[in-house]
């Protein structure tokens, strides 16, 4: 890794040199292959968050090789600093290393608004640009907003925000302005949604028979994931009455109960990261998928086009 002055042309030139050097160094041991399918811009909260981001990006690159640009604020001035790095791994049983490249940019608070113009030439031409805005501040983006027009998809995490309604309003507003947005708090409920959807695949329930759905959440206030879950059910079953209620336990989804005229079925959060399904002749546990940041991002980076189901739930 090396530190360079922030001039996009200089950064690109240094990246070229880095690749040439790596190719030379690894020539004897199978060589390196440069892989890139997108530009992933990550706006980290601060320098310690940037360190975490680097680790996460290292994992993400295996499935989504990209040019990663990690931005984080540092100091109060207008200075911009940059360093470049390569992230390499060896596929099982192969001699050749696969590498993706990264650029870490530190911007003083007052220089952050300048970042957008530096990013334009740093994007990999003709490939999608994904912007991942981390932390609570992302939903009150300030200077980050200048990056939005550069991105084909902007990923937030409303799980960091206490006020679910404001977060959803913000995301809807962005969507209304034509931005393609995603929210990791929606991604966190994929496992819940899949369990519920399977009940309809199995005909344990028929859509037309469901009269009511009650979504219960824990914690002091409703979260966006509970709101999303309820909205998703509402848009999928327009004939059913969908209610949200608060229950015991830590913040997050606790259960959903679907009622027909004669029966009811509950999916409830159990122990060991499982949900328990009971009712309508069913009783089983289902393991929820990993909710690690890497797993959530893998899912989101796999969807670069429209995501109609999310958009329906967001705008419902």
């Amino acid at each position: 890794m090396s530190t360079v002055a922030v001039q996009p042309e200089r950064i690109l030139k240094d990246l070229q040199q880095l690749w040439a050097q790596m190719a030379q160094d690894q020539a004897e041991s199978g060589g390196v292959l440069r892989a890139c399918a997108m530009t992933l811009v990550v706006a980290a909260e601060d320098s310690s968050d940037a360190e975490r981001v680097r680790q996460t990006v290292g994992v993400l690159m295996h499935n989504h090789p990209s040019r990663a640009v990690i931005l984080h604020p540092g100091g109060s001035g207008a200075d911009l600093d940059a360093r470049i790095f390569a992230e390499c791994w060896k596929p099982f049983g192969k001699a050749q290393q696969i590498c993706s490249e990264g650029i870490e940019i530190t911007a003083g608070r007052s220089g952050f608004s300048e970042v957008a113009k530096f990013l334009v030439p740093l994007r990999v031409p003709d490939l999608p640009v994904v912007l991942w805005c981390r932390g609570a501040a992302a939903l009150d983006p300030g200077p980050l907003e200048s990056l939005f027009p550069l991105a084909d998809k902007i990923i937030f995490d409303s799980g960091h925000v206490a006020d679910a309604d404001s977060a959803l309003q913000f995301l809807r507003r962005l969507r209304g302005r034509g931005r393609r947005v995603a929210d990791l708090h929606w991604t966190r409920i994929t496992g819940w949604r899949e369990v519920l959807a399977h009940l309809f695949d199995d005909r344990a329930l028929k859509p037309e028979e469901v009269k009511a759905a009650q979504v219960t959440f824990g914690g002091p206030a409703v979260t966006t994931e509970a709101r999303y879950f309820a909205a998703w059910i509402r848009t999928s079953l327009p004939g059913a009455r969908v209610t949200l209620s608060s229950g015991d336990g830590p913040p997050g989804l606790r259960s959903v109960m679907l009622s027909t005229a004669s029966d009811s079925l509950t999916i409830a959060l159990g122990s060991d990261h499982c949900v328990e399904v009971s009712g309508c002749g069913r009783h089983y546990r289902s393991l929820l998928p990993s909710a690690s940041e890497e797993a959530l991002m893998q899912e989101e980076l796999g969807i670069l086009g429209p995501d109609p189901v999310y958009e329906r739930a967001l705008t419902a």
Partner: protein, 496 residues
């Protein structure tokens, strides 16, 4: 049965879900089950693609208890699992769903025992897998029919997977189909061709029909010829007995390679739905020009490597083709006059399967510096199926330095590296497809019969003559006659 749309479906995020079912494997102690089927099913469990409730019921003649069968499969899965993905805890849970019924497939009592075992698993849906010697296929299908194992309760299904070969010629293929249809409907019959399950073969459709730049160049105006090569560096490896009855033409060209050719040359279907895609493949197979008897010697070449007759189980006078090559033409507007050269063989210099689409050279040799021949070298689009799945485009580029010297360069797309996710094996893909009821990548009766029709004149010619075998050395690219076959049309094999 009308399919009701699930309002909660989210295909972008949810995996296709495998329904609860029992898989009944005939030939469950055989090589295919040990090397491919059980490792594929275990891998699906490892990736959490199997439902919480499922069962595998194996049958073969070997007397074994459930526990002994589990132990035997434990060792096989551990040995043959890809990427070394094996977890003892997961295996213990997986093995709890493994059951075994010993017995002869000719014995009606065996089917009753099988039925009892399947019923005990509580599974309503059953997928039968024929992984035995082909001569037992009709016996097993009859046995399933007579024992009413094929009768599904309301809302449940019965499906049958049949391994190749689907007959040994056109007539026997028709007969096999008729016997299968006496018990299973065509839509419940899944003829497996594992080549079609390979990611790169599927990717041919994505390359052709998902991109705008290739399809306009995918026709007789721009394509000079197509070469399809499936080379193996090994010999028959203990399968001499089976192989001497089959031969390369039957074993590879009739099924795998003609299906690959159909995928390369077919017209786009209006929608990506199983029967629409299969209709186009079938149409292409029916458009392949059938050789007249007098053309066979010019357009087809048989070979046998030195040492084949000394392999265990092989007749010392065997006339088996361990190498086969053919020149095929497609009688339609897109491909009229474009030769498709197909070759396959054992004991060739390396293991490689690829499709090379050679384009016409630039009409004018503009660059005549030091290397005139290089200056007119045609472009090649190579679709690599194995060992490294990917796509390469060969074109000419200027050498650095003064002057205008051109040299060919390769632009490579490597499937494994561009998508870091592990590609599922062909058997994983195809087993999931059969369980979810998607036959897109399976071969339909009319496709099987069309490909036998293409091969039949060659078979008849070869069956009625004595070859001067062996005619190629191990480690070479096959007999000289194959070079002559392609040279007659002014082309040469890519032997690189």
């Amino acid at each position: 049965m009308t399919e009701v749309r699930n309002p909660f479906a989210d295909p972008l995020r949810f995996e296709r879900r495998v329904p609860e079912c029992a898989i009944v494997i005939f030939g469950a102690a055989g090589d295919l089950a040990k090397r491919k089927l059980l490792p594929a099913l275990y891998r699906l469990a490892y990736d959490r693609r199997l439902p919480a409730s499922f069962a595998i019921v194996g049958n073969s003649r070997t007397a074994m208890s459930d526990e002994e069968y589990r132990q035997r499969m434990h060792d096989a899965v551990k040995q043959f699992s890809e990427d070394g993905a094996f977890d003892e805890d997961l295996w213990t849970r997986f093995a709890g769903n493994l059951h075994y019924v010993a017995g002869d497939v000719k014995d009606p009592q065996m089917y009753l025992a099988l039925k009892e075992k399947v019923n005990a698993t509580g599974q309503a849906n059953i997928l039968f897998y024929l992984s035995t010697q082909p001569s037992y296929y009709t016996v097993i299908v009859d046995g399933i029919g007579h024992s009413h194992l094929a009768s599904a309760p309301d809302g449940a299904w019965r499906r049958l997977i049949v391994e190749k070969p689907f007959g040994h010629d056109l007539e026997s293929a028709k007969e096999l189909n008729a016997r299968i249809h006496a018990v299973f409907r065509e839509q419940d019959t899944y003829r497996i061709d594992h080549y079609l399950g390979k990611e790169t073969v599927q990717n041919i459709l994505a390359l052709r029909f998902g991109n705008g730049i290739f399809e306009p160049l995918w026709n007789r105006r721009y394509v000079n010829h197509v070469q399809i090569t499936a080379a193996e560096s090994i010999g028959v490896e203990g399968r001499g007995g089976y192989y001497q009855e089959a031969g390369a033409l039957r074993d590879m060209i009739q099924n795998h390679l003609l299906q690959v050719m159909a995928t390369v040359a077919m017209e786009p279907s209006a929608v990506f739905e199983p029967d629409a895609v299969r209709d186009e493949r079938a149409k292409l197979l029916r458009s392949i020009k059938i050789m007249r008897p007098e053309e066979v010697d010019s357009y087809a070449v048989a070979g046998q490597y030195k040492g084949f007759r000394q392999e265990p189980g092989v007749n010392p006078d065997a006339q088996t083709d361990t190498y086969a090559a053919g020149t095929f033409f497609v009688d339609n507007w897109r491909w009229a006059g474009v030769p498709f050269f197909i070759r396959t063989g054992k004991k060739l210099p390396k293991r490689v399967t690829d499709i090379a689409i050679q384009y016409n050279s630039a009409p004018l040799a503009l660059f005549r510096s030091g290397d005139g021949a290089q200056g007119t070298r045609p472009n090649l689009l190579i679709l690599r199926i194995q060992p490294e799945e990917g796509i390469s485009l060969l074109f000419l580029s200027k050498e650095p330095g003064s002057g205008m010297r051109l040299r060919p360069v390769s632009m490579d797309f490597n499937y494994g590296t561009s998508f870091g996710e592990r590609s599922p094996s062909a058997y994983e893909t195809l087993l999931v497809d059969a369980m979810v009821g998607d036959p897109t990548l399976y071969t339909r009766q009319d496709m099987v019969e069309a490909s036998w029709t293409v091969i039949q004149p060659i078979l008849e010619n070869w069956n009625n003559r004595r070859f001067d075998f062996p005619n190629y050395d191990p480690g070479t690219w096959g007999p000289a006659e194959a070079d002559a076959m392609i040279a007659k049309l002014g082309r040469q094999w890519r032997n690189s």
